[in-house]
């Protein structure tokens, strides 16, 4: 496998992990613009674990995710009291705080960045991505998944049916942050070097866009969104420096044509209905 091809696939896998981390709170109706901060926490914690102790990269990455999750849980309780644009701003602020803290934290290199001693390749990263997709898909097939989508549609009706709206939202935010933290750890261990600038708000916005573009109604949405976002700019490499202009234009057109995202439940339903019919009638 060529280095270029492996690099693209690694980027795809990491982006898929990030997308599922952003998807969980978004499915519960919460916009988390601070997820780059949780990715940074996961990346730095995993890198620190790898550099300081004799742990395998896999264990270090899981530990990074766990720490991101603990921080998210502590933050979720006050931050998730806010709603809509205020929640977006509050989470954005959390991301900024994390970035500024890392810049001033000499133990992980501060502004000079932080090298990572151990290295993982595509198979490990792909395995992480697959496991996470399977876990999130399984989670959405439980009552928890139905409750998340239910409170996204109607918080009051869900509450009256006994759904603990805040607990579900905090859980979605926390589990999402664990996944994003794992994504950060994967990134750190592939590129072997991280710095605070890798985890700025542009990352948060890009990842949220993957999910909005893919669609928040179905667990397949983030997968499709991350794939399109990662692969389309690569396919447009032919047009060199214009590729991001073409890409952005394609994005706007897509958003205008399918504001609900590429994958909607109605579309999936039609798709499966069409597939089923010939089997039922033909054979």
């Amino acid at each position: 496998m060529s280095g270029y091809f492996e690099g693209v696939l690694v980027l795809l896998a990491v982006n898929i992990v990030f997308a599922y981390g952003a998807f969980l709170p978004l499915a519960a109706g919460q916009l988390n613009l601070g997820l780059a901060g949780f990715a940074a926490i996961g990346a730095y914690a995993a890198a620190y674990a790898s550099n300081s102790w004799t742990v395998t990269p896999t264990l270090a990455i899981l530990l990074g995710g766990l720490i991101a999750g603990v921080v998210a849980l502590a933050i979720a309780v006050p931050v998730l009291r806010t709603r809509g644009i205020y929640l977006a701003l509050a989470t954005f602020a959390v991301g900024q705080i994390v970035q500024a803290t890392i810049l001033n934290l000499e133990i992980v290199g501060g502004a000079a960045g932080y090298p990572v001693a151990t290295f993982i390749r595509l198979p490990t990263i792909a395995a992480f991505a697959i496991v996470i997709v399977v876990i999130v898909a399984a989670l959405f097939a439980t009552r928890f998944g139905i409750a998340i989508r239910a409170l996204h549609d109607d918080e009051i009706a869900a509450d009256l049916m006994g759904v603990h709206v805040r607990a579900i939202q905090v859980a979605a935010f926390t589990v999402g942050s664990i996944i994003v933290g794992i994504g950060g750890g994967l990134y750190a261990h592939y590129f072997s070097f991280i710095e605070a600038q890798n985890f700025n708000v542009a990352l948060s916005i890009t990842v949220v866009l993957y999910v909005l573009l893919g669609g928040t109604q179905s667990v397949l949405g983030p997968l499709v969104g991350a794939a399109v976002f990662t692969l389309l700019p690569e396919l447009l490499r032919g047009s060199q420096s214009w590729r991001y202009v073409v890409f952005a234009a394609a994005l706007i057109v897509l958003m205008a044509l399918r504001p609900q995202g590429i994958v909607t439940r109605a579309r999936l339903h039609r798709l499966f209905a069409v597939n089923r019919q010939p089997n039922g009638i033909g054979a």
Binding site: F140, T142, R143, I146, R149, A150, L160
Partner: protein
């Protein structure tokens, strides 16, 4: 009708929105096993009373006794576990969920805790909860809509799905906010049969807000009349019909007001 303490009792309940008094010193009881209706002109505060009972709004003063317990301070989320479930005047189904998933949301209060929450109900086709929800839909004649996303379903079908969802919580008190509104007479007839079946299968007390007096006459044995947040009359429908105050305020103009409200709904 069963004797014994009432399933629901309001004692001196008041609710203000700013300077506007919406419910004022309201007291009445809903007898266990009864089918009680609450009627009154638009804006009388009927839906507000439902919101106070279900906990969407909190009371300013007064007590709400459910089966003898004062639930006025119980969070809305917990009231369903006491046995109170409701439908809404404007249907509040989850538009992106399928009919079956909506009905499964109704089961939520019966399976809390990490194990209940994390059961893969959508993964195993023969899951107990899924089968129960499917059977309830089929029983209401809605089997065909099981996997349809509810947003696109006809109004009458959505109303019935919402009713099935509320029944899934196994309530002892079912609050129905204008269940027959917007239904034609055949649909209204089907709804009455469905409600009769629900009441026969389980010991459910019905408390219904309704403008359709034919529906009230056919379904309900007791009527509470509200006007400007106050109770102005209470009793069997036959007695209420003859009450001069009720006639003047509500029933006297019922034909005209019903035509108006129907015209408004159809528009």
């Amino acid at each position: 009708m069963n004797t014994g303490p009432p399933i629901l009792e309001l004692q001196g309940v008041s609710k203000h929105f700013g300077g506007l008094s919406v419910v004022e010193n309201l007291s009445f009881a809903v007898a266990r096993g009864s089918r009680t209706a609450m009627i009154g002109p638009n804006g009388a505060g009927k839906t507000t009373v439902f919101n106070l009972i279900s906990g969407v709004l909190s009371t300013d003063t007064g007590h709400i006794l459910f089966d003898g317990d004062d639930i006025a301070a119980v969070p809305s989320r917990r009231r369903v576990r006491y046995g109170i479930a409701r439908s809404f005047q404007n249907i509040r189904l989850m538009p992106h969920l399928t009919a079956l998933e909506n009905v499964m949301v109704g089961q939520h209060s019966r399976c809390s805790g990490p194990f209940g929450i994390l059961q893969p109900i959508n993964l195993l086709p023969n899951n107990r909860w899924r089968a129960e929800a499917g059977a309830a839909l089929a029983d209401a004649g809605l089997a065909a809509y099981e996997s349809a996303t509810v947003a696109n379903l006809p109004y009458g079908v959505q109303k019935r799905i919402e009713l099935v969802r509320a029944v899934m919580a196994r309530p002892r008190l079912l609050l129905l906010d204008e269940p027959a509104a917007g239904l034609n007479s055949a649909e209204s007839e089907t709804l009455q049969q469905l409600l009769d079946r629900i009441c026969a299968n389980a010991a459910v007390t019905l408390f219904i807000i309704e403008h359709d007096m034919h529906f009230v006459g056919a379904m309900c044995d007791h009527v509470v009349v509200l006007d400007f947040g106050r109770k102005i009359a209470e009793g069997p429908l036959a007695k209420i019909r003859d009450d001069p105050l009720v006639q003047r305020i509500y029933l006297g103009t019922v034909a005209a007001s019903m035509e108006c409200s129907h015209a408004a709904r159809r528009a």
